[in-house]
Amino acid sequence: MSFPWANEYKPSHPFMQWMDEKLPLPRFVYNAVGAGYPVPRNLNYWYNFGILAGVCLMLQIITGVILAMHYAANQGVAFDSVEHIMRDVNWGWMMRYAHANGASAFFVVVYIHIFRGFLFGSYKAPREMIWLLGVTIFLLMMATAFMGYVLPWGQMSFWGAKVITGLFSAIPIVGEPLQQWLLGGFAPDNAALNRFFSLHFLLPFVILGVVILHIWALHIPGSTNPTGVEVKQESDTLPFHPYYTAKDGFGLGVFLLIYCAVLFFGPNMLGHPDNYIAADPLSTPAHIVPEWYFWPFYAILRAFTADFFFIPAKLMGVLAMFASILVWFFLPWLDTSPVRSSRYRPLLRKFVWFGLLPDVLILGYCGGSPAEAKFVLISQLGSLYYFLHFLVILPIVSSIEKPEPLPFSITESVLGKDDGAVLPANPAAA
């Protein structure tokens, strides 16, 4: 689906005409990310991060496939095979640092992309499906990243795998057998390493599939925009190409500059030194911490320290950690405000910028710190706000808040006036 004024693909070269009859792939691309896709004319740089996430996924797949050519998924040699890549494979060090920091870059980009959704109400009708698919992608990313971190078979790989799979043992009755079934043993060993490698290779392609659905679902209603006002007329849009290809090109350049600065000048900045020690089941690291992008969720997991009636603290922590992401699935129905963008929602805007954002950053800081009493107490308050924000504050705010006046159209918000504005023939379709 597209807007009626979308440019139509008209191949001029005979070969492209022939191609268009047999397999209209160029037409598909033209309509998806070319001049045939009309996009709101007021997208700001927050809207670059979807494309950047796609770039990160491709970067991870390409570097990952190359690494898999040299890596050996066997607990006896996995650690040494990574060092073989770092030392003896041509440009192997670059591939591995690009992949390890690429995971961090992917999460940075996706967190900004998700935050964009919170800010501009991208999850609201009629875009619920795009949002649901997005949260699914995020869950798949978490699983993929976790299993990827196990592969170098360093100390944090091993003990991280042990802690995270240990979470399943908190489930009553079936927990322990489930954990053993997942690991293929009583503790992470060769069986676990092999299946994690297999799944770590598979899941990115599953992500790619869901990304295609995500973009397909996006093209049904079209992109949102910072005003949250739907497209009404041709003057509200610009063709994706050349306008947004140019804007995304510049955004991509800035992203690559930052990413490569980290890759080439601080490649171990975001990693944990303990993962340069080979896995040793007999020696527990002083502080077991996951990679930085899991820290907020790790803080929520560790925040439950007291049994709650008949529910053990550990089970509460596991339930809360999963709930903290699953709650995003319900966002489109928890937020009942008729106004989409927080730009016109004074109360929600304050809660997102001065509540949710600092809250998640503080949780992240606590999740990366040792489990000392002060950090646990702060995590408890942080987690408390996190759940209240989505499940209590958001529904209340969206019913009591008085939105600020919206512009009539995107054109008006950009130009300050909308002379050519024509009301649609059927106002209900607005």
Partner: protein, 270 residues
Amino acid sequence: MVRLFGPLVGLFFAIALAWSFGVGAIQMINDPEPATAVQEFHLHPKEVHFSFNGAFGTFDRQQAQRGFQVYKEVCASCHSLKQVAFRDLMALGYSEPEVKAIAKQWATKAKTFDPKTGDAGERDNTPADRFPPVYYAGTGNPPDLSLMAKARHEGPEYIYSLLSGYQEQPAALIKKFPDSKVPDGLHYNPYFANLNIAMPPPLADGGVTYSDGTKASVDQQAQDVAAFLAWTAEPKMEKRKQTGWAVLGFLLAATILAYLAKKNVWANQH
């Protein structure tokens, strides 16, 4: 449904968290976690200037060669270096015959196994071999040193501080934590994670004789071996930084062009 159950689920977690917080806070007030000797006496690594610091830093070949000498004459009796091959030493400025000689003269020989007879034997190391394993019979587990400079926070500084940081246990520590006397067979070192390390002080003034005439103080040896281990942990560091500058230069030019293209395309749309 969502609007009914959502807030209920939210309140459920909120109350459970408030409960955990309350229990934890009361415990913290009534029974605060006691201070530990490690919290009060552990020191962060000392500041050292290494030639490889910074975005333009490179390895000081002469210092790394001195560090290799310290490793060979002191560390190698207990610590292996299994990720590094003798041939890699050529990157430190050793010539091919020198590397051959180092490999050939290495005290621990390479193990051989004859599949026809089942006989185990020995042969001299060659440049293609990695440094052989070290069989250590004493107490404790001397770790492999190949990656030590990346396996600790501020690795090279840590190695330097640890090796030059042995001292008598401070009287103030014993006074405040009478139970924390250094156990028999361990040695006090404030840079070690739990303050008591099994390794006896390995370096002594003049313990090695440098062929380049540098005075072999403990401090000098510690710096040199830290620099050598920085190289063993990240032998591709120089190539990494060189490549990085080329990549950043290209990307900067490309990004400026992309910005100008964007400005041009959007010129009449604002």
